[in-house]
C-alpha cells in the first residue's frame, strides 16, 4: 500500500503497528496494551517463557467475582481457585492487578477507558471478544483466545492476517428515546451475525458523532455480535475531552503531542472500504431481541415475527428453534410480553451514563411486584460515582437490587443466573440459549427500556409509563 493512498482509520492503526511483514505470511503486529482476566499462565511456565512487557499488561477480575457481599469468602471453590491462580501469576510475573474489592476493579472493558489506558491509535487485545469496546476511542482492539494470550504475554506481538474494512454509516438525528444500544441492535438486525466477519467495522455518520463516549463504547462493544473482528469510531473532540486528565492519559507537553498525532488518525477523505452499509437514524426505534441470536431483533412497536416469512431456509429454521426456546408465538406484540427479571449491567451498558438513564426512568416509581430487578455497575468506580449521585437510592427505593461490580448475570459464571424458562430484559449483549443460565430467556434492550420494563412488568419505553 503506497503512503500517498487514502487510508481508512483501521488501516492507519494497522500500518503503525507492523513489526514485520513478509510475503505469504500474516503481518506481525505489535500490541500496545494487553488486558488479562482469569487465566492461568501454565503454558508460559511449561515452556519456560516469561512476560515480555508486564508494564503493558493489566489484570483484573470480572467474570466470576460474586457481586453480593464482598466481605464474605468466595463461596464457589472453583472461582476462588481461578482468582487465586491469577493473583499468584500476576505477582510472579510482575503484572499490575486490580483484584476483587480494589477501587479500580471492574469489567475489563469498563476500567481500561476509565483509567485512560485506552487511547486512540493503539492496538489492544484481551482474551475476551468484547475487547471491541475499546474501538470507541479509535483504537484497534480485538478479542483473542488462550493460545494468543500466551503469545502476547511472551512476545508482545501477534501474527495477524490483514482484516477487511467495512463502513457502517448512521446519518441523521436519533429520535427521542432511541439510544446507542438501539443503534447497534438495528445494525446487527440489518447486517446479521455474520455481516462483519473478516472485517473491522468503522462506525461513521452524524448520529455516531453525536454519541457520547459511553454510547460509542456500547456500539463498538457489540461489533462482535455482528461477527466483526473489531469496531472503530474515529477520535474527535468528544474522545479527547473524555480522556483528558484521566490517570494514564498523557500530560502537559505529551498531551499536546498525542493530540497532534491522534488528529491524523481519522480515515482520509476518499478512503475506500470493502463494504458499506447506510442506516437512516431518523427511522430508528427502541429495539428488543425476540430470538436467540443478536440479529433476531425488532422495534418495540413490532411483534414476534413469523418464521415462515423468512426466505432463507437456515434463518427460517433458526427462527423456529428460537421461538420454541423463547416460549414465544408469532404475531405476539412485543409490548404484551411480560418479564420475570430485569438485569442492568455488562460491558455493554453498565457505565455511569447507562445507570443515570435507567435511574431517571425509575425515579419515584416502583418495580412491578413479582419482577426481580438488579443493577450491577461495570466497575467499583462507576459504583462509587453512582452512589455519590444518589442513583443507588433511586434504584433500591424502586425495588432494584444494587450490586458490586462484575459481569454477573451477563454470562452466568457467578451465582447470578436465570432459572429454566425465566424471562429477562437484559442490557447485556448476548441472547444465546442458556447464556444467562440454562433454559433462561434473554431479551436484549437498552437501559431505558430495561428500566421502564421493570416498572411495567412487560416491554415498555419510558415515554409510555403513566
Amino acid at each position: 500500500m503506497g503512503t500517498n493512498e487514502a487510508m481508512t482509520l483501521s488501516e492507519k492503526v494497522w500500518e503503525r503497528h507492523v513489526v514485520r511483514r513478509a510475503q505469504g505470511e500474516p503481518d506481525l503486529i505489535f500490541i500496545d496494551l494487553h488486558l488479562v482476566h482469569e487465566v492461568t499462565f501454565d503454558g508460559l511456565r511449561l515452556s519456560g517463557r516469561s512476560v515480555r512487557h508486564p508494564e503493558l499488561t493489566l489484570a483484573t477480575m470480572d467474570h466470576n467475582v460474586p457481586t453480593t457481599d464482598l466481605s464474605q469468602p468466595v463461596a464457589d471453590p472453583v472461582s476462588r481457585r481461578q482468582m487465586d491462580a491469577l493473583e499468584a501469576n500476576c505477582l510472579q510475573f510482575g503484572i499490575a492487578l486490580y483484584p476483587m474489592g480494589h477501587r479500580n476493579q471492574g469489567i475489563v472493558h469498563v476500567i481500561g477507558p476509565q483509567l485512560g489506558l485506552t487511547q486512540p491509535g493503539m492496538t489492544i487485545v484481551c482474551g475476551d471478544s468484547h475487547t471491541s469496546t475499546h474501538g470507541a476511542f479509535g483504537a484497534l482492539a480485538f478479542g483473542i483466545g488462550t493460545s494468543e494470550v500466551e503469545h502476547v504475554l511472551a512476545t508482545q506481538a501477534l501474527p495477524q492476517s490483514h482484516p477487511g474494512t467495512m463502513a457502517v454509516t448512521v446519518d441523521g438525528q436519533l429520535p427521542a428515546g432511541v439510544t446507542a444500544k438501539d443503534v447497534i441492535l438495528a445494525i446487527i438486525g440489518t447486517i446479521g451475525t455474520g455481516g462483519g466477519i473478516g472485517s473491522v467495522i468503522e462506525y461513521r455518520g452524524s448520529a455516531i458523532r453525536s454519541l457520547s463516549m459511553e454510547g460509542r463504547m456500547t456500539v463498538c462493544n457489540m461489533s462482535i455480535e455482528a461477527g466483526a473482528r473489531a469496531g472503530l469510531v474515529a477520535p474527535d473532540d468528544t474522545t479527547f475531552s473524555f480522556l483528558e486528565g484521566r490517570p494514564h492519559a498523557p500530560k502537559a507537553k505529551a498531551w499536546e503531542r498525542a493530540l497532534d498525532d491522534w488528529r491524523s488518525l481519522p480515515s482520509d477523505p476518499g478512503a475506500a472500504f470493502d463494504k458499506e452499509v447506510v442506516l437512516d437514524a431518523a427511522r430508528l426505534r427502541p429495539h428488543v431481541s425476540w430470538g436467540t441470536n443478536p440479529s433476531q431483533v425488532v422495534a418495540i412497536d413490532g411483534e414476534v415475527p413469523d418464521p415462515e416469512q423468512f426466505l432463507d431456509p437456515s434463518q427460517r429454521d433458526a427462527a423456529r428453534r428460537a421461538l420454541s426456546y423463547m416460549g414465544l408465538h408469532a404475531g405476539t406484540p412485543i409490548r404484551d410480553i411480560t418479564v420475570d427479571t430485569v438485569f442492568i449491567g455488562s460491558c455493554t451498558n453498565s457505565r455511569l451514563e447507562d445507570l443515570r438513564a435507567a435511574a431517571a426512568v425509575i425515579q419515584g416509581r416502583r418495580v412491578r411486584p413479582g419482577v426481580r430487578a438488579m443493577v450491577v455497575p461495570g466497575s467499583m468506580e462507576v459504583k462509587a460515582q453512582a452512589e455519590h449521585e444518589g442513583l443507588d437510592r433511586a434504584f433500591t427505593g424502586a425495588g432494584f437490587e444494587w450490586r458490586e461490580a462484575g459481569c454477573s448475570m451477563c454470562l452466568a459464571m457467578n451465582p447470578d443466573k436465570l432459572s429454566p424458562g425465566e424471562r429477562c430484559a437484559s442490557t447485556s449483549n448476548r441472547n444465546f440459549e442458556g447464556r444467562q443460565g440454562p433454559g433462561g430467556r434473554t431479551h436484549l434492550v437498552s437501559p431505558a427500556v430495561a428500566a421502564a420494563t421493570a416498572v411495567a412488568g412487560r416491554f415498555a419505553t419510558p415515554q409510555e409509563l403513566d
Binding site: E25, R52, L58, L97, I144, S147, A157, G194, G227, A254
Partner: protein, 204 residues
C-alpha cells in the same frame, strides 16, 4: 501441536446455523484451571436430548464436524476448540466461521475448512444420508473430499498457516525468532503511550 497432513474419517452432521461458542461449551464449564476434559461439556445443553446428533451411535467415531454457516461466533473462549478436540474432532467444515474461533482452531491444531455454501449444504446432506461416508479434509491440498458423494470442495488456507499445520509448529516459537524486529519496533514507540507500574501491594 502435532503435524496434520490430512484428516480422514466419518463426519458428524450438525444441521444448524449460528452455533456460537456458548453452545459449543457453556460458561459453567470454563471454571476449571486445566485444559483437558472439556469434551464432556461439548454441546452440553443439547446433549440431554437423546436424539441430538452427537448422541447417535452411527456418528460415535466421527472425526470431522460438518456444520451450518456462522459456526463458532460469539465468545473468544478457546475452550470451544479444546472441547471439540477432546471429543475427538480433528476438523470442522462450515460455510463461514467466527473469526476468533477460526484463529483459535489453527493455533491448537483443529482444521477449519471454510467451503462454499452450496458445497457445505451438499456435504451436510450426504453425511446425513450416509453416516459411514468417508470424508477427507486435506490440509496439504486445501480441499474437502467425499468421493462417495462426488464432493470435492476447496477451502482457503493461507500458506503460512498451512505450513504451520503441516509441520505442527508452535506459533510463539516462530515469533520469538523475530525478537530483533520486535526490539527495533519498541525503540520507536512514542513515549506518551501508557504503561503500568509493577504491583507493590497495589497496582499502579
Amino acid at each position: 501441536m502435532d503435524p496434520i497432513l490430512r484428516v480422514t474419517g466419518t463426519a458428524l452432521p450438525l444441521d444448524r446455523s449460528d452455533v456460537d461458542t456458548d453452545q459449543i461449551i457453556p460458561a459453567e464449564w470454563l471454571k476449571q484451571v486445566e485444559r483437558s476434559g472439556f469434551g464432556r461439556g461439548l454441546f452440553s445443553a443439547w446433549r440431554a436430548d437423546p436424539d441430538f446428533v452427537l448422541n447417535r451411535p452411527e456418528h460415535a467415531q466421527a472425526t470431522i464436524l460438518v456444520a451450518g454457516p456462522n459456526f463458532g461466533t460469539g465468545s473468544s473462549r478457546e475452550h470451544a476448540v479444546w472441547a471439540l478436540m477432546d471429543h475427538g474432532f480433528r476438523a470442522v467444515v462450515s460455510p463461514r466461521f467466527g473469526d476468533i474461533f477460526r484463529n483459535n482452531c489453527t493455533k491448537v491444531g483443529l482444521v477449519p475448512a471454510q467451503v462454499e455454501a452450496g458445497e457445505g449444504a451438499a456435504l451436510l446432506a450426504a453425511v446425513q444420508s450416509d453416516p459411514a461416508l468417508e470424508v477427507t479434509v486435506d490440509v496439504d491440498r486445501r480441499v474437502v473430499l467425499a468421493p462417495g458423494a462426488g464432493i470435492e470442495a476447496p477451502f482457503p488456507l493461507d500458506d503460512f498457516t498451512r505450513w504451520r499445520l503441516l509441520e505442527g509448529l508452535d506459533d510463539i516459537g516462530l515469533t520469538l525468532r523475530h525478537l530483533d524486529a520486535i526490539a527495533a519496533y519498541e525503540s520507536g514507540r512514542p513515549a506518551w503511550m501508557p504503561a503500568l507500574s509493577a504491583p507493590a501491594g497495589g497496582a499502579g
